[in-house]
Amino acid sequence: MSLKDLISPFYVWQRAFEKPYTQKHPIQERPGAPRYRGFHVNVLEECVGCGTCETICQNHAIDMVQVEGLEPKPGDSGLRPKFDYGRCCWCALCVDICTTRSLRMSNHYAWITEDPTDFNFIAGADNMSWNGEEYGYRRDDDYHLLRGERVKMEMLAPEEGLKSFEEVMKGYTEEQAKDEADRCVECGLCVATCPAHMSIPDYIKTVREGDYEKGLRILYETNPFSSTCGRICTHRCEEVCPVGHQGEPLAIRWLKRAIVDRVPRERYREILGDEVVENGKQVAIVGAGPGGLSAAYYLRRQGYGVTVFEAQARAGGMLRYGVPSYRLPDNQLDKDIEYIRSLGVEVRFNTCIGREVQFAELIDDYDAVFMAIGLNVPSSLRVKGEDHPRVLSGLQVLDDVASDKNPGVGKNVAVIGGGNVAMDAARVSRRMGANVTVLYRRRIADMPADPEEIHESQAEGCTFVTQAIPVEIKDADNPDQVTIVWGEAEMVADEKGGRPRPVLQEDRMHEETYDCIISAIGQGGSLDFIPGDYRDQIEFKWGKFVPGDYQQTALQKLFVGGDIANNTADAISAIEDGHHAARGIHKFLTGELVA
C-alpha cells in the first residue's frame, strides 16, 4: 500500500471545513469535458420528428410532443423530443441513433431548481442556457447504429437489358428482403407522404417476420395494384424516409414487391377473401386504368354491382399501353387486374363513352358514375413542319410496342421531352437497336421522369442534350429522314416560384438529322364527350376535372379521379383517387362513411 493510500482517509476531513453547497450557495460549475454527455441539445430545423430517439430510449425518458410554431410537413411530423430528466440515464443512445444527427449533448451537467417538474424540457425549443453549446457529445462520423446502405437488387446489366424486353429488376430474395426490412425505424413519416397512405411500417414488418399473407392483406387495405406499384411506383415515400438523411432511404417499393412476389395469384382469393354481399346498387366506371379499377375493387367489396366501360381491348390504361414490359411485365399487371375482376367486376371492352355509349345514359342508368379516363391525347410540338411523316408520338410508339407492332423508329432517333413517356420511348428505341438522343428544354434535374429511369436510360446508352428547344422540323435530303432545328436555352427563375423557365437563345441554333423524331412533351385529356347540358354542373380547369370532397363533382352522381383530375399524374395517386371516390360514392348512396 502506498503512502498516499494510507493518508487519503484523512484528506476527507479537509472537506468538513469547506463551505457547503446549498441552493443559496450553488456549486461553481466547472466546464465538463469537451465530449461530456451532458444535457441534450436538438437543432430543431434539422430534426424531422421521426421519433427514433423515443423508440430506442430504454428508460422511456423521451416523449414526442408538438412544438408551438412547428407545423407538420412532408417528411417532418412537426413533433420534437421532450426529455424527462427524472428518467434519463445519459446513455446517449438517442444521440447515436438520431437519423438526422440533429440531436446532440452539451457538456453542461448542473441544473438546480426547486421544482422537480422543471426537469422536463423540449431540447432546442425551450430556452436553456446550454442551447447552442459548442462542446459535448456528438456521434462520431464513422459510428452508425443504422445501416445506411440499401440492399442491392439484382438487375440485368445494361447491355443484357438492351437485348430484349425482359424485366430489368429481378426482385429481392427472401433473405435480401428481410435484410432490407431490418433497416426500417418504423417512424411512419412515409405514411403521410404516400398518396394512398399505405401502412408502410406494418407491411415492412411482415417482410421481417416472413408473414407474406398478412403483408398482402395490409397492402390491399389501401392498394389493389400492389404488384404493379411494387415495380413502377413513383415511391414518394422514399424521399422522406429519415434513414435517407445519413444514407440511402429504405427500398420501400421493392419491399412491397417482395411481399407480392411471394404470394401466387391462385391464393389471392383465399387470403384476401372473395365474398361479396350484393347491395343492389349499380355503379358505372369509365376507364379500366388503375384509377377506375381501384374504385371498382373497393366498391365491389362494399357489395356494389360494378360495370367498367373501357375504350380499349385490354385493361390497365397507361400501365398497359404506356409502361413497357421491361419495367412492368404484363403478367404482373394481370395479377392485380385478374383478382379485381374475379370478384365480379364486369369490364366492357371496346366501349368508348361518347361513341358506343353516351354520357347521359350512364348518368340516367346508374346510381353513381366514377370517371378516370386518364390523359391520352399527346400535346403536339406545334412548330413549323411538325406534320412530317417521320415525326412520331411517344404514346403511339409505346402503344405499338405494347401491342406487338413495330413502330419503325429507324437507327437514329431523337426523343423530345423529359417525362416518363420520353424515357420509355427512348429505352424502347434502344431495345429496337437505335442510337437515341434525348432533347430536353430544361436541365436533367428538372426532368419530371423518375431519377432512376433517367439513370437507367443513360446507362443503356441514351445521350441527353439538355436546354435544347425545338423550333422547326424540315425535310432531310433522304425522304426517310427528318431534320430538326433546335436552339439552346438559358434558364431563368420563375418570378412566382414555379419551375425555372427555359428561354430560347436565338443566336445559338443547331440542325440535326434523324431517322425519326419522337415527340413526348406532355399529354392532355379528351373531355369532348360530355354534353353541354351538364356544363354548369361540372368544374373544369386547364382541360381537367376539378373534383370536390371525395372526388365528387357538383353533378352529384359524378365522381372523378386519376390523371384527368389530379396534378400528380402517377399510378398511386390514381389508385388513391379511386379508393377515395369509392368511399365518397358509398357515403353518397348510404350516408355512411367507411374506412
Binding site: S379, S380, R382, V383, K384, E386, I416, G417, G418, G419, N420, V421, A422, Y440, R441, R442, P448, A449, I469, V471, E472, V492, D494, E495, K496, G498, R499, R501, P502, V503, L504, E506, A520, I521, G522, Q523, G524, L527, D528, I530, P531, G532, Y534, R535, I538, E539, F540, W542, G543, A569
Partner: protein, 148 residues
Amino acid sequence: MNSVDEILDFAIEREQAAADFYQDLAERASSAWMKDMLLSFSKEEMRHKGKLKSVKKGEKLLSSEQQVQDLKISDYLVDVEPAGDISLQDAMIVAMKREKAAYRLYSDLASKVDDPDVKDLFLGLAQEEAKHKLYFETQYDDQILRDN
C-alpha cells in the same frame, strides 16, 4: 389619338374586343369544357380592361423601364385557326399570339410618337401586354409542355 385619355380609351376598347373574341369563340365551342376555358380567357381580358380603367382614374401603369420576361414560347409556334372545335393547346397559342401582337402594336406606336409622355404611356401599355403574354406562356409551359 394624341391625348393620354384617347390612348387609354383605345386600349380599353381593344381589351373589350379581345374579351368579345373569346366570348364569341366560347359560344361556337363544340365541347362543354372548352367553352368554360374560353370564357375564362374572356374574363381575363375583362380583368385587363378593368386595370386600364383604373389607370384612367389615376392608378399607375407598369413603368416602361420595368422589363417583363419574354419566354419566347409563342415565337416559333405555328399560327392556328380559332375554330369552334379548337383544342386547349391551340386556344392557348391563339391567346399568346394575340398578346404578343398587342405588345408589338404598342411598341410600334411608341416608336412613332415624339411626345415623351405619350411615348411612355405606349411603352407602359406594351409592358402590360407583355405581362399578359407571360401569363399565357407560363400556363402553356406548365399545362401543355408538362413533360418538356
